[in-house]
Amino acid sequence: MLDMNLLSRRELLSRAGTGFGMLGLAGTLQSAGMLTQPAHASTTPVLHTPPKAKRVIFLFMNGAPSHVDTFDPKPALEKHAGEQPTGKLYKPSKGAGFMPSPFSFAPRGESGVVMSELFPYMAQCADDLCVIRSMHTSVPNHEPGLLMMHCGNQQPIRPCLGSWLSYGLGTENENLPGFVVLSPGRPVVGPQLWSNSFLPGEHQGTAVDTNNIEVDKLLANIRHPHLDRSEQRKQLDLLLALNRRHLEQRQNEAALDEQIRAMELAYQMQTEASEAFDVSRESKSVRELYGESTFARSCLLARRLVERGVRMVQVYYVTKSGKQPWDTHSKNNAKHRTLCADSDRATAALLMDLKARGLLDDTLVVWGGEFGRTPYAQNDKKNKGFENAGRDHHHTGFSMVLAGGGVRGGLTYGATDEFGMDAIENRVHVHDLHATMLHLLGIDHEQLTYRYSGRDFRLTDVHGRVVHDIIA
């Protein structure tokens, strides 16, 4: 339909000198529409290693779930219940001391991955799960902790993982944003968590407020407020005609081609995105599998998006009443029971659904928060015992769960000490998790760089080690 003047090879090469690494260049040129290929063709970025995963769904439990109540059983807490923690980092707490988890733990699946009774659905996926029990991060505060988990830095001055992936790998579907963020309202920190920072603007996450799941409400500007599709086509045909006359007077001006092409893509995107973001098109049985909650709908939406080539979907577990529901400073046990019931069902449904569609093999799913919670109780004046106690922020040992995307299923990796205080065996820092995730996607974390402010920046800064042991 369109007679595109594609860039000459020389011009492409000359553009290559503008400071993009070749790896990112491929994606940049492609998403800017400067390389020739049909819209659905997978981009072929310069990968450093063969990728096992092509896309990522990160299920973020905002506020930080308690590892000792979920995936890291600590019988010693029972034995030493009420004792105060000791050690360099841990002054005796003001609370009631070590607090045993009230939840029973059992090995699940053939592999025997251990999890608490709060995960009856994920238990059915046990053999696909890789539980890292030896995570640790730099600080026990939400803001820097969230930024660290997203951007590999405690200050809001670096691009996030999703932006790096978009930059490094481009998109698999030009009619959809490459990096989508699903959250009912905003999590703590907010948009900096999906910031492209100094990477080009097209790599920022497209944030979607999932409070209202209707398509028109989800995506800004996805439809003209008044015109129907055929009317708009006539309108855009006139625009195309005028733009082409303009271009004829300005031969060889590639930037004008780009604009014309972006306009046509936008028109296509309206249909494709409307369809992709419409969970009402799912069958009743599928919707029932996930559940009815906002988080469940977001998980289902995430599946629809990755299925259509979105590179990364970040799903935040945020509720109307709280930006970080997992931050259980009080009533830890009761809150974990409620939160896990919702999260467990939706997460398991997502894993099963992906698997049934053959997508789990190359879709990396990550479940976790910005850190863990203290193995000891946090109390206030009114609540003395364990009954209504909370757990405080805890960063020196916690758990994350990975599945799919080339990760070894049925594996429990690393360990904390007998109380769950510190990661002591096969420790995995957030930088290591990032390095490993990039590796699974075929990227050497040391080579995915962007020249800015006089030096090459990367997600893992000067850190990061690929955890080969968890790779299938």
């Binding site: 996805i222 855009l236 006139l238």
Partner: protein
């Protein structure tokens, strides 16, 4: 190959002791890369506290070994613990997995045959507590550290009235190229008006200029636009990027807005006024760094301190590592913003490429450690804290004040817990012949300001001249506007850059002089047409054989639309706005800039993230931008207004209305063909869509014209 390796391996133990040592190349090829990749992370001076007390990044450290004994004993494979560890016999190193046998065999061979290791001295970073051994005289020879000088314009080719043209045309002639001819007047007035004021010319202004036969017509146009109050609005936008201007923080805990800057717009208004008044650039810089010290009594100038005072404040400020991050922001905005140097690179190690030792970084950071952010009450009535700050940020301007003067210690590898020597506050050593004088007056801020805003500073004038040039030509004479260091780009026209910078200083640092000089050049006035023969030679137009066709900034584009629809508010100054609101009529420069959440429209159209200094906007072209153009309430509203204006100005005749819309938007009349297409489009209305209650064909046409490439680009 593999077979050969194995053979060698088998032979080694038997013959090793009798053989000559392997040479340095062997080490560099087979040993060092493995050490770097697998061992340095935990066992190098860079790694912090080395594991097991073992360092593997120098020869001596390796031979001395760690807690368990020597890692390498030359010639003695059995006594070398390194080998045991690699074989996973005692220690299991590296922990991520045993290395391939052939790699371990290389280490065995290397040790057996003398363990030649050229790493006699520790790496430079290990000495980061002391100023690096830099040959300052040699370092100062780098072009950017040499004072810019006037150059005689080349005399080749046609004599030129404007010195810029002489330099540009000489380089073109060398490459066998000639510049484009002068652009036509419709193009010129649109280009110039958008460039100087960020607004389109009115149809009347276009007509007057096109028909002005005076030889002074262009000069007069330039003078009129330079004198416009909208000049400052246009050029403040550049400085807001440079100054990473914002009105809030990226971190918000709860609804705590105590660290916000609700009156930051007063700094923006000060910038607009400063550009309009043509405050000399050296003074402009001094005031932004030290107005409180230079003019203690002239409080009206203190708002300029927003340059430092509106910087990011991070979560948990007060923690030493967080304050260290804030100092980096201040050093960076001064380093890259004013000097075009990536000084902040030297926070963790001596700059790898430029002569900036870590001690220089901490000498500058000390100035900001001795300076505090201050919310100065706007009125005497405002409620104050004990320290004199306004309780409510709403009732204050956001400036800086002197804190307790203190020198700070180098933080080794940027680690707040590992302090090196205390460094006196001072300016960059390379600009002070290697022996900078300590700043002793208070924080040293005023001395810093003087050192930067000095005619002897080789960078300051060049950097601002280049930033302005970049705005006009889409690319600076130095392609990296905030990095004039070794890793930045060398200037395409070094003599031109120097000549302009030197004359700029001679002209009293007058920015309006500089603008005038640039826009009156033939280089600026030439047409933007592409010539295939020139593209062959110089595809990027580095030599400026044409005026580049430029995409407008989001400010120019949105303001141009509002101007065309007749709804633009021309009042200068005032509080911030949300530019994507359909009925917001103020100029885009007044947009709130948020560190927390940048307005989605601005973010979509390549606005920089105000969490850090930005030297140039990265242009992207995305379908999401176009969805905004064709579907957003803002654009639909603008189309409605455009039709209303066309109807009221031009009456009912379709052709007259269309002509008027073209003039308002593009500064020209439509061609016959364009007019016919548009008339035909509107005529379908009655025939087809009488019953619809949506926008009529006129509104649809208006939106097409607003969405066009012609509106978005400057020829």
């Amino acid at each position: 190959m593999r077979y050969l390796l194995l053979t060698t391996l088998l032979l080694v133990p038997a013959t090793a002791r009798g053989e000559a040592p392997l040479d340095t190349d062997w080490f560099e090829t087979h040993i060092r890369p493995v050490l770097v990749k697998h061992c340095y992370e935990c066992h190098s001076t860079e790694s912090g506290t080395p594991k097991g007390g073992l360092l593997l990044d120098t020869r001596n450290a390796m031979r001395e070994g760690g807690d368990s004994g020597p890692a390498v004993v030359p010639g003695d494979v059995d006594a070398s613990l390194l080998l045991e560890a690699l074989r996973y016999e005692s220690y299991e190193m590296p922990p991520s997995g045993k290395l391939p046998d052939e790699v371990i065999a290389k280490f065995e061979q290397w040790i057996a045959r003398g363990a030649v290791d050229p790493r006699d001295t520790p790496p430079a970073a290990a000495t980061s507590t002391k100023p690096a051994a830099i040959d300052w005289d040699a370092a100062a020879q780098f072009w950017a550290f040499q004072p810019p000088q006037r150059h005689d314009p080349p005399t080749t080719g046609t004599p030129t009235a404007n010195r810029i043209d002489a330099f540009v045309q000489a380089r073109l002639a060398d490459a066998g190229l000639a510049p484009n001819s002068t652009a036509d007047r419709h193009v010129l007035i649109r280009r110039l008006t958008y460039d100087l004021t960020g607004l389109p010319p009115t149809p009347e202004e276009v007509d007057a200029f096109v028909h002005d036969e005076s030889p002074q017509a262009y000069e007069q146009l330039v003078d009129r636009l330079l004198a416009s109050p909208h000049f400052g609005e246009r050029w403040a936008a550049l400085w807001l990027d440079v100054a990473r201007y914002a009105e809030d923080q990226a971190h918000i805990v709860g609804n705590n807005k105590s660290l916000f800057y609700p009156n930051a717009w007063m700094y923006r208004d000060w910038l607009i006024q400063a550009f309009n008044d043509d405050i000399p650039y050296d003074e402009f810089v001094r005031l932004q760094l030290a107005a409180d010290l230079i003019h203690p009594d002239d409080q009206s100038s203190h708002v300029a301190l927003g340059f430092i005072g509106l910087g990011p404040k991070y979560y948990r400020r007060g923690a030493p590592e967080v304050m260290a991050d804030e100092w980096e922001d201040r050093v960076d905005v001064v380093g890259r913003g004013l000097l075009g140097l990536t000084v902040a690179c030297a926070r963790c190690h001596d700059h790898k490429y430029d002569p900036i030792p870590t001690s220089d970084y901490y000498a500058l950071a000390g100035i900001f450690a001795s300076t505090r952010m201050f919310n100065r009450p706007l009125t005497d009535e405002a409620e104050k804290n004990k320290d004199g700050q306004a309780k409510d940020p709403e009732q204050s301007i956001h400036v800086v004040r002197e804190g307790t003067p203190k020198d700070i210690a180098v933080m080794i590898r940027g680690d707040v817990n590992r302090r090196g020597d205390v460094v006196p506050r001072h300016f960059l050593s390379v600009l002070e012949h290697g022996s900078p004088k300590p700043f002793t007056e208070g924080s040293g801020r005023q001395q810093l300001a003087e050192a930067i805003a000095s005619p002897d500073n080789p960078l300051t004038a060049r950097v601002i001249v280049n930033r302005i040039w970049h705005q006009y030509f889409g690319r600076g004479l130095v392609g990296t506007p905030s990095n004039f260091g070794t890793l930045g780009e060398a200037p395409t026209h070094p003599q031109l850059l120097d000549d302009l910078a030197a004359r700029f200083v001679e002209q009293g640092w007058s920015l309006k002089w500089l603008h005038h000089e640039i826009v009156t050049s033939e280089t600026y006035r030439q047409a933007s047409s592409l010539r295939v023969d020139c593209m062959e030679v110089d595809p990027d137009n580095r030599l400026l054989w044409r005026m580049p066709r430029r995409r407008m900034s989001v400010e120019q584009w949105r303001d141009g639309i509002l101007a065309a629809t007749g709804r633009l508010s021309l009042s200068v100054g005032g509080p911030s706005i949300t530019p994507s609101e359909p009925d917001e009529q103020r100029r885009t420069v007044y947009s709130e800039r948020s560190r927390f959440q940048l307005n989605p429209m601005l973010a979509m159209f390549d606005f920089p993230d105000p969490n850090a200094h930005s030297g140039r906007r990265v242009e992207t072209t995305t379908p999401l931008q176009k969805l905004f153009v064709i579907n957003s309430p803002f654009m639909v509203q603008q189309a409605t207004w455009l039709v209303e204006r066309a109807a009221s100005d031009a009456g009912d005749d379709p052709a007259a209305r269309i002509d008027h819309m073209y003039r308002l938007l593009y500064g020209r009349a439509p061609t016959e063909d364009e007019r016919t297409l548009a008339v035909a489009f509107t005529a379908q209305d009655a025939a087809e869509e009488e019953s619809t209650d949506g926008p009529d064909r006129w509104q649809q046409l208006a939106q097409v014209l607003l969405a066009s490439n012609e509106l978005l680009f400057l020829d």
